[in-house]
């Protein structure tokens, strides 16, 4: 029962393995760091990983610089991601007639990347864990709990449901920003300054979110993205109070399927299972922390998690403060905090003392200016805007995207697949020169699906019930560009 058998039913597999391990005959098992489903027979696990390893090695002969990305077979798709040097993550999804055109390889790739980035943020790079404990118990334990918790979000019924063509107007691995007026932006920045000074001499970093949107950050883009992703998954009010029903029936089985691991067998902490839902709750002081009453508390004080920020190259404590729709992630450099939890308590006190008033003001102003879920809906358009360099995207609200016909979405998914290929092809050719690209396609159901890349920024859209000329489509893009993108996609 539980997650493993449920997942096994749809033939989806996800594995993590290390090519540097188990190179001796008979020690192949040592390579496996993680395998989902966990109850998959060892022999099958070995055969999947053996195949993957073989493909990786084989393709390297032809393409030593670029990793193998995907292998399509008759019944399966294998999506590859080299998370760290020689540490691979592979997602195997089963094909059937119904979903043949359903996936976009890059979207699946994004899941692997996201899982690893989040893992590394909480536990550090896998390689470091392996180096610290060559028996790999530690790494396996963390991977098992973490990825299992991560995958729980994709549970629909008894199956793992990965992004499909229906999600072609979404971009994983990007941040969604809240657009604010200059006046409010300055207020937020002023708040950020106060947050930064909570520790005194050393500057604290911070992220400010409103609902599920990012308002400000002081971290570099990659670190911002990881923390933002985590926040939206678990910390924002919506994530915190949503008792995902799909998850609740599995709650009991979680620790069973995660299994006893050497390091975390005596209960879990927020630091060790950051993605475990129900683990977190908002306290009376407004701070969100691991709730030990719900788990097997040993009278311990909830520990503030320490996160590793790859781009900022720093380990930092994460304090989460919430006021109504506003979520503040305060990051305290671990190296500057000698007395651990005591220091954190002090920082929290400082923050409440200095920033409370500003937090209330900012929340009020943001609420006043907040256009609601459909704030970024543009009538007549279903769009996705991506700035890959800044890791930012904006899209039509999901509720509006669902009104598109299946054919439009499938066509758009196809187009995106093509664009992905085109992009990677061009990137290999000339990595520092942006290539502009434009495609407008008339679909079976008389809709337009459009992709446009201009100076590195991407725009995808679907227009139904529009005119039938190409001029109509390009005018629509031009209008949208001038109105909402400051002319970034306007034809020169």
């Amino acid at each position: 029962m539980g997650l493993s058998s449920a997942a096994a039913g749809d033939g989806t597999q996800l594995c993590v393995f290390d090519l540097r391990r188990g190179q001796q005959e008979g020690q192949e098992l040592d390579k496996i760091l993680f395998f989902h489903p966990a109850d998959c027979p060892i022999l099958l696990q070995l055969s999947v990983i053996g195949l993957c390893e073989g493909i990786v090695t084989f393709t390297r002969i032809f393409s030593p610089e670029e990793d193998c990305e995907v292998i399509e077979s008759e019944k399966h798709s294998h999506v590859f991601y080299q998370a760290e040097t020689d540490i691979w993550m592979v997602l195997v999804v089963e094909k059937n007639k119904e979903n043949e055109l359903a996936w976009r390889c890059n979207a699946l790739h994004g899941i692997l990347k996201e899982a690893h980035s989040l893992f590394a943020m909480f536990h550090g790079p896998i390689r470091t864990l392996l180096d610290r404990q060559p028996s790999a118990e530690l790494a396996r334990g963390h991977l098992r709990t973490f990825i299992t918790d991560y995958l729980s979000d994709f549970n629909v019924g008894k199956k793992l449901q990965f992004p499909t063509y229906r999600d072609s107007l979404k971009e994983r691995g990007t941040v969604q920003m809240l657009t604010v007026s200059r006046e409010v932006a300055l207020d937020v920045q002023s708040l950020t300054t106060v947050l930064g000074s909570c520790l005194g001499n050393v500057t604290c970093q911070s992220l400010v979110l409103f609902e599920d949107l990012l308002v400000s950050t002081t971290l570099p883009p990659d670190d911002t993205l990881n923390l933002y992703t985590y926040a939206v998954l678990r910390l924002t009010p919506r994530a915190l109070y949503a008792n995902a029903s799909s998850w609740s029936y599995l709650r009991k089985g979680t620790s069973v399927s995660a299994g006893p691991t050497s390091s975390s067998s005596n209960g879990t902490t927020a630091g060790e299972r950051p993605l475990l839902r129900d683990n977190l709750s908002k306290g009376k002081d407004g701070f969100v922390a691991a709730d030990f009453a719900a788990t097997e508390a040993r009278g311990a004080v909830p520990l503030t998690p320490i996160l590793w920020f790859q781009q900022a190259e720093e380990r930092m404590y994460l304090c989460i403060y919430q006021h109504k729709s506003l979520t503040i992630l305060l990051l305290v450099p671990a190296s500057s905090l000698i007395n651990g939890e005591e220091g954190i308590a002090h920082v929290k006190k400082q923050m409440l003392e200095n920033a409370s008033q500003k937090i209330v003001t900012v929340e009020q102003k943001l609420t006043r200016g907040w256009g609601g879920e459909n704030a970024y809906h543009v009538s007549g358009y279903r769009y996705l805007l991506v700035d890959p360099e800044r890791r930012i995207s904006r899209a039509s609200p999901p509720g509006k995207v669902t009104t598109l016909a299946k054919d439009s979405l499938l066509a758009l998914n196809m187009l995106r697949q093509e664009v992905d290929l085109e992009k990677s092809r061009y990137k290999r050719g000339d990595p520092c020169h942006d290539k502009d690209f434009e495609a407008c396609i008339r679909t079976k159901n008389n809709a337009w699906v459009i992709a446009k890349i201009s100076r590195g920024r991407e725009l995808y859209m679907a227009l139904e019930k529009g005119g039938e000329t190409l001029l109509y489509a390009s005018t629509a893009v031009e209008k949208f560009s001038n109105r909402y993108c400051e002319g970034a996609f306007s034809t020169d």
Partner: protein, 718 residues
């Protein structure tokens, strides 16, 4: 040389003081004069001789040189007041007679009272519409109107009541009439251009020393003071050694607080809207700024200094005594008389001093930067000094790395003050000018005069307004409309709102409108120097940020935070920040490797788009391509087509640049630049395309040498 120290006076380190008088004083020790009088309406210092009246205009910046003079009839002089238009002189000859003299014709006429039942306490000229001269008698007030043609006075109205003594200042247009056993019952009138306002009767507080001993309040112990256009009254309670401060409203007189005193004699001056309470016995002065209804002293009691004394090598120290000997008198000596609003007449030595605030010393005496800045921004007397000091304070607190909220508050104050002053200056320019003129010349056209001396000891005593024994006269004034001295009158209820700008606004509403504080003419000074005290965002940039930038290199994060707060203040005040500040901020961020925040600030417009910033982003982007892209986007969004095309070319996007050039008709970029890029790409295809583009786009291109050269290159490539 020890004497050197003395020369500096207040400015000398170690000689701590917040108020000073500037050497040399006006010398009025002319032989033959029979006392000194002060006409506070015209600000004349008056010295009668046997047959002439000499006077100095004290409002002139350097009131020196020989006095003006008027011939008069011989006779005793108890007080002299020129009419407000300076056409007539009123001279109180005795307790029963006042003589008026037309200055043009020399005609005289007299006003007498009944010798048996009443005496004249004094008189003054007024700009009230219904009368010109007010005669104060022990039996009440006589309101007289003056007819210049016939040089005659007729009685307009008589107000009957008993008067023990009275107090009048032209500045406030307010007369207080004391009566009762202890002289603590007061009746008051304001005779202003807006009409006559009767102040409700009120009683001043007097502590009792012993059960049956009831002290009598003396005129010397009550002082009317006008600051910020509001009228206050200070009353010394000798028994409890305290000073009661009252404020006048149209419908009430309200005691504001009780201030401590350190002297059984006090004098009050108003310098630049600061109340100076001179503790004469203690020889110190305490300053109060009542602008925000705070009655805490601005600083500790400190002595008054004389500045600019000539070097005197014999001087050994710079105590008050030595200063005194240096100028030949005693500070706070017996002969000192305090004239309204900010003059001191040393009647013993025949000297007239003007009081000044030492803003520099006051600024240096407090570390509370925001409140000092507020204080300074309210000052008018030395705008360039105020400005210099304010800028220095802001610089200092940044360099000292005071907490960001403190610095933010300080900058808020500076900018708030700027907007307020600009608004006042901008909204009523005409009016303001009128006030200025009045301020400068207002004292000359009119007359009215005040007591300054005692008959018995000529040349010694210069007295303030009131002299129970003597009289000062009241006369009239031709009504000067809009003379900058309207007296808006408010009720207590609107008290809280009466900050300066309010007062100014109100003056433009009906003057007689009820329910406002009783205010007087001093506020005219506002706005006069508005343009110069105010510190604009550009000046903040030039005189603060650019100057501290180098020193803050070690801690750019702090300076960034400060600039953010500054931008916030600027935006809150509805002002524009200088573009170069954005350039500085972007540079600081880039130097701290905070490129992500540059992008954030550009996208939410904290860094407002402008060409300067766009160029700087391009420059900074040489190390960080996404930032360069931000700069290019900004060029495009600002419609800076030439720069955008050039930038695209530099990036190697020459085909895109061509397309853009065609769309926006950019002909200013040299074709050779495009052609060179195509050649560098070694693509005959592209070069041919660029060539043919220019042949079409610029018809004259075919005749240029570029065309020939690149065609040749193309033919070789093919």
């Amino acid at each position: 040389m020890l004497g050197n120290q003395i020369q500096g006076g207040l400015g000398t380190p170690g000689a701590l003081s917040h108020a000073y008088v500037q050497h040399p004083p006006l010398r009025c020790d002319i032989p033959d004069i029979r006392g000194l009088f002060y006409d506070d309406a015209n600000k004349f210092l008056i010295a009668p001789t046997a047959d002439r009246i000499l006077y100095w205009k004290t409002t002139l910046s350097t009131p020196s040189g020989p006095p003006n003079s008027d011939p008069v009839n011989e006779g005793p002089v108890l007080s002299v007041r020129y009419s407000l238009d300076h056409k007539a002189i009123g001279i109180q000859r005795s307790r029963h007679e006042i003589e008026f003299r037309n200055r043009e014709t020399g005609e005289t006429c007299s006003k007498k009272c009944r010798a048996d039942s009443e005496t004249i306490l004094g008189f003054f000229w007024t700009d009230c519409p219904t009368c010109d001269v007010i005669l104060v008698k022990t039996s009440g007030l006589d309101l007289l109107a003056y007819e210049p043609q016939s040089h005659a006075f007729h009685l307009v109205e008589s107000k009957k009541f008993n008067v023990s003594w009275y107090l009048y200042t032209h500045e406030s247009r307010l007369i207080l009439l004391a009566s009762g056993m202890q002289c603590t019952m007061f009746t008051g009138y304001q005779f202003s251009a807006g009409g006559i306002v009767k102040i409700p009767k009120f009683e001043m507080m007097m502590s009792k020393s012993e059960a049956n001993n009831k002290p009598v309040l003396a005129a010397d112990d009550v002082h009317i003071v006008t600051v910020y256009g509001r009228i206050y009254c200070l009353q010394l309670d000798r028994v409890s050694m305290s000073l009661n401060l009252y404020r006048f409203y149209r419908d009430a007189v309200v005691q504001q607080c009780t201030l401590p005193t350190y002297s059984s004699r006090i004098a009050v001056s108003a310098v630049d809207n600061i109340i100076m309470v001179h503790q004469i016995d203690a020889k110190v002065v305490i300053l109060y700024d009542v602008s925000l209804d705070s009655y805490a002293p601005v600083s500790a009691p400190l002595p008054l200094l004389v500045r600019g004394l000539p070097i005197n090598s014999r001087q050994v120290s710079q105590t008050a005594d030595s200063q005194s000997s240096a100028y030949g008198g005693t500070i706070y000596g017996e002969g000192w008389n305090f004239l309204i609003p900010d003059l001191i007449c040393d009647a013993e030595n025949g000297l007239l001093w003007k009081l000044h605030l030492d803003l520099e010393a006051i600024a240096a005496s407090s570390s509370d930067a925001p409140s000092i800045l507020e204080f300074l921004q309210r000052r008018k007397s030395d705008p360039s000094m105020v400005k210099t000091l304010c800028l220095a304070i802001v610089r200092t607190i940044i360099l000292e790395r005071r907490s960001v909220p403190t610095v933010a508050k300080a900058m808020d104050i500076v900018l708030d003050s700027y907007t307020r002053l600009m608004k006042m200056g901008g909204a009523f320019p005409g009016v303001r000018r009128t006030h200025e003129q009045n301020q400068q010349s207002g004292s000359q056209p009119n007359e009215g005069s005040h007591v300054v001396s005692q008959e018995s000891s000529p040349g010694t005593a210069v007295r303030p307004d009131v002299n129970p024994d003597q009289a000062s006269g009241a006369v009239n004034v031709s009504v000067q409309s809009n003379s900058g001295v309207e007296h808006a009158i408010d009720s207590i209820s609107s008290d809280s709102a009466d900050n300066r700008s309010d007062v100014v606004d109100k003056r433009h509403q009906a003057v007689g409108e009820a329910s406002r504080p009783l205010s007087s003419g001093t506020l005219t000074q506002h706005g006069q120097h508005a343009g110069t005290v105010a510190i604009s965002p550009i000046e903040m940039f030039q005189s603060v940020f650019t100057l501290v930038e180098d020193e803050m290199m070690g801690d750019p994060a702090y300076l960034i935070a400060v600039i953010t707060e500054f931008l916030r203040s600027v935006s809150k005040s509805g002002l524009k920040a200088p573009h170069n500040l954005y350039v500085m901020m972007a540079t600081l961020l880039a130097r701290s490797n905070r490129y992500a925040e540059i992008a954030l600030f550009v996208s939410n417009k904290i860094l407002e788009p402008c060409k300067e910033l766009a160029m700087q982003l391009m420059e900074l982007g040489l190390q960080h391509p996404p930032t360069r892209k931000l700069g290019m986007d900004m060029l495009r969004e600002r419609g800076l087509h030439h720069d955008y095309v050039t930038a695209m070319l530099q990036e190697g996007y020459y085909l895109e640049a061509l397309r853009y050039a065609r769309k926006y008709k950019v002909i200013t970029v040299q074709p050779a630049l495009f052609l060179e890029k195509a050649v560098a790409k070694n693509s005959a295809h592209n070069l041919a395309a660029v060539l043919s583009f220019f042949c079409e786009f610029t018809p004259s291109f075919k005749t240029t040498s570029d065309f020939g050269r690149y065609r040749h290159i193309l033919s070789e490539m093919v």
